[in-house]
Subunit: 326 residues, 3 copies
């Protein structure tokens, strides 16, 4: 059974959130609708709901990420959960414990949810397969494979501005090869029936056979950005680049960086998105990042509502005996 | 006044939890009974009790221990306390403050409980002697001296399976010399009237005059494990070993490691225990650690209930004026 | 508009707490009165108020400070806020994000308050000027500039013992030049109408034109301490000293250290204060630090009530639309 099915119970309900692949439009729409109803919570005077009161959420971060960890922590706290953050790289590794023993021990502490960030593809799925059935596992980014909560906050942000996906043209620009964000986003857009998905970048930063994911390939941004509704700029993953795939950051900016001139090729009401943190002057010009078409900070805000939604849904499905209707 | 009496008030009630020595069977039974009633909390939908709402528990860890720190943190949070974790080695030491000044400052912040882990024997007692009387101090492991909450979760785990201690034969195997776990456990088992306590290990890893603690010494596991009800394997404390007390880990495993063959010498319903983290293939074979007689992960689960019990009891005794009946 | 006015709304109410300069006696008295009412909370069985339930307080510490961070964290938790601590130096700096981008991201997570500690003067004000208007910014120490919550807890501590400021003589002794504590305290004492403020120290550790702040200068402690009501000893900021302003710590203690002999020059009911952590035998003798006139640990306790008061007031003023009367 592949990860795509493993994350669902026999009734097809989400038990974990490991990857977008294999989910239905209904799954994604449920998450988006729940996130929409939770979005207002942060505007209220008391930004908390009792949904996860008495539950324990464990952040298992094998790879540093202040931003992602923080949004998951806030999402859990706003649902009234207790949150435990374990930086695994620096803790039990000292005593030479294996990953599985560490997991077994944490699950024995009767936690309810693991949020997993790992530099290796498949790590979250591996953990989901080995923890006890009452624990929900959320993938907060695994290697080059997937970053499904980021993809969901991206489509949530798009939907709030442009609810009709059928006519949507989305360009994803930059280092597609190393980007788990891109892979997850392409899947989500396809499932939601987006009109056209384009990937734009130099040949060296596009994965082989990227078309099979359901995306059109453009090497030239002058063509790839023409008339699009959304531009998603990817971060140049300097820390992930092995070997010299690119001559220099400067050259990348010159050929692919999102400037006002290039942005003018897109629709006038184009949305500019970026998963952050941005490299100003590398993949995006500051005037665009801070300009009127940018929704980059909205993405951050939306990330909390979307993560609250995914936490509520997966733990809710764990609480209900299989077969019971909600 | 020694630590054994210092942790009690004039009525003999627990104010701190520093060492098992000097406690009565009544003290231990109270903790075990309270832990039993709290054990069910983690099974409930809402895993929280309001017992310590508004109290502040400070984890003072002078020595790294993710596992122990985490279980104390969870225990405190499940009792609704606020938890503050201070890694002392890396903080005020920078500014050259003395330990006592650090303590005085934290107690001035009106905290209610200190959970202390320190590499020096007697550190928790030293702290208990110097803090203000309203603060309860729990020893989470001090040097080679004591690890009394671990001993309590061990006897709690045994009692859940084998409630009659009078006929119990328990073998503690391995590095007794460096083990605070072993010292505390021997005391607890004696107080609870265990039938026979055996320590099993090479001469170099047994403390001089260990018999005076009330344990029978075996150098040969073939004899030490015969017909026992419980085997407690100790972690080979590689990081504590000074000098060459042992030829190699391999030789240790060959002579003392718990294999299925050796385990067959014990009673058929023997319990296999280990304080964790385990060294697979050093003190225990994986087939035994993961086998049907192992209760190693139950120990972790039980550790939370036992720590919740000790927190409730000691803080409860602080709240009541001396002499008042509960 | 300078920081002194920037922290107030058009009605003159506190929106941020960046500096004591420019505040009125009314502002300070409001804080002190609120702190007085909160001071009793820590004595209660349940040390919590629901004031900030559902609010998120972010500790942005660009400079390590366990003590200050801890008191802010406790203050926020005792007001039932969720607290997030970000050690900026070690997190997003890794990915090369600019300070402003980090801020924008955290504010997009819909936090309500930033507590800022930074080694550069003006950092807290810079942040307050750039965050969204719904966020309150508290200065927890910026460079040599200000440490206004420390000044407030100092005057709070004085007022509890000596409520009539008009006749008060206060000596601030030591390294005035590098001390943000001294600068903030001098302002607070002046605003509250203290009788006389003295600064006492070697010429090399007094700022040029310190008299313009409203303080009398003494190079000789024998004169500076005579008949004072309060002595505030400053910490010798070894880590801030650039160049050889002082021959040695020993010489400093000999010439300025607070000994019982020197203290005898002051009023019999003098208060001995110190912002901590103290350097025993450098700026203060242990017999004085631990003696009957010392209120150093009271300062720590009071710091929590004062910070709770400032958090409540600033967030309360954010919640009320400008122009609305409380």
């Amino acid at each position: 059974m592949s990860a795509t099915h493993f994350q669902l119970d026999p009734q097809g309900r989400l038990l974990h959130f490991l990857t977008i692949e294999g989910l239905t439009r209904r799954h994604l729409t449920d998450i988006l609708d729940t996130a929409e109803s939770l979005h207002g919570v942060a505007e209220r005077r008391v930004k908390k709901l009792p949904t996860l009161h008495g539950k324990t959420v464990v952040n298992l971060f094998f790879e540093a990420s202040t931003r992602t960890r923080t949004t998951f922590e806030l999402a859990a706290k706003r649902l009234s959960a207790d949150v435990l953050t374990l930086n695994i790289a620096t803790s039990s590794a000292v005593k030479g414990e294996t990953l599985l023993d560490t997991l077994r021990n944490i699950e024995a502490m009767q936690c309810d949810m693991f949020v997993v960030r790992h530099e290796q593809s498949g790590a979250a799925e591996f953990i989901a397969r080995h923890v006890k059935p009452h624990i929900a596992v959320l993938n907060a980014g695994d290697g080059r494979h997937a970053h499904p909560t980021q993809a969901m906050l991206d489509v949530f942000t798009i939907r709030r501005h442009k609810p009709d996906f059928s006519r949507l043209q989305v360009a994803i620009v930059g280092d597609i090869l190393h980007s788990r964000v891109a892979r997850s986003l392409i899947h989500a857009l396809n499932i939601l029936g987006a009109g056209e998905i384009r990937v734009v970048g130099p040949r060296t930063l596009l994965p082989a056979q990227v078309e099979t994911l359901g995306a059109r390939v453009f090497y030239d941004p002058a063509q790839g950005l023409r008339d699009v509704d959304v531009v998603v700029m990817l971060r140049l993953q300097k820390e992930r680049m092995e070997g010299a795939l690119l001559p220099s950051e400067q050259e990348f900016f010159q050929r692919y960086g999102l400037t006002e001139e290039r942005l003018a090729l897109a629709k006038p009401d184009v949305l500019v998105m970026h998963p952050g943190p941005i490299n100003r002057g590398v993949e995006i010009d500051s005037r665009v990042a801070d300009g009127p078409r940018s929704v980059i900070l909205e993405q951050v805000t939306n990330g909390i509502a979307v993560r609250m939604a995914i936490m509520s849904i997966t733990l809710g499905n764990h609480a209900r005996p299989a077969g019971e209707t909600p």
